[in-house]
Symmetry: C2
Subunit: 168 residues, 2 copies
């Protein structure tokens, strides 16, 4: 018994695979680029940035946190040779709408026997500052290659446009 | 001075924004779905699964690790109401090609004064088992809603097709 979502995904994938011509692309990203951005449903990074199969690593999590993405960024740079990184947060982000302590309280109420107070949900209160903080976190990290070009951006869900916050 | 990548991204984004009609989409995903998958450059989740703006959260990291994604999954479920989750790993994944200790050694050689041995890079040696392990991790987690439907899949970079490993 398939769920409605699975049925739709299988239909979408059958459509995609029917005209698939990307066999044999190498594992390392062609553009030597890694994009770190939010999981938000309104954001389709490849479509919104003109990325094609094989172009760039895309790391996504709640908020587009660079700190949360560090494990993946290390692998991208050290093993797969990426040399440029863009951090893209976005307007109307869910991470602006709650605090760590509020979500800790929700989890304690909904679940039993959970110790969640040590989970940092990496919320933020100022969107532009969150981009600056993430770029600064990466630039000051001891495990990021110093020659990596890093820039910071905001995607506007109202317009589909990106605008730069921090130059590379 | 823009890098070649930034110039191409800005061109791609200008093209996207010129015909953007998605203003006003709500923050919670319409399909109540969250996709957890790999950052691999050859995988374009929205295109390969037929997802549109507003449909689903997409979390991506090296390997498509559910453990690494837990912070984001909690936010997706508890604050934004997703009720179904698909884990998608893929063939020819970079996570099959190295071990924790190998990458720790590389980092020690390339950087100085870094203490990296406590970073778990979440590598795996068996692709199908890695999907089963991630689904099991989520099903046994104390902070995942028990009614959430979770399924596990493999995306084939050779064909563009997904195939199911674990039913929801």
């Amino acid at each position: 018994m398939l769920t409605e979502n699975i049925t739709e995904i299988l239909e979408g994938n059958a459509h995609y695979a029917a005209s698939y011509t990307k066999k044999g692309l190498p594992l390392p990203p062609k553009r030597k680029l890694v994009v770190v951005t939010c999981m938000d449903a309104r954001l389709l990074p490849a479509k919104a940035l003109g990325l094609h199969e094989g172009d760039a690593h895309v790391i996504r999590n709640a908020g587009g946190s660079a700190k949360d993405a560090l494990r993946s960024i290390i692998i991208s740079q050290q093993l797969l040779g990426t040399e440029e990184l863009v951090v893209i947060h976005h307007t109307d982000c869910g991470m602006l709408t709650f605090t760590n302590s509020q979500l800790h309280q929700i989890l304690r109420e909904r679940f039993h026997d959970v110790d969640v107070d040590d989970i940092d949900f990496l919320t933020f209160t100022d969107l532009e500052q969150s981009v600056r903080d993430d770029v600064e976190f990466l630039r000051s990290s001891k495990v990021i290659n110093p020659h990596i070009r890093i820039s910071g951006w905001i995607y506007e869900v109202e317009t589909g446009k990106i605008r730069r916050v921090i130059e590379q």
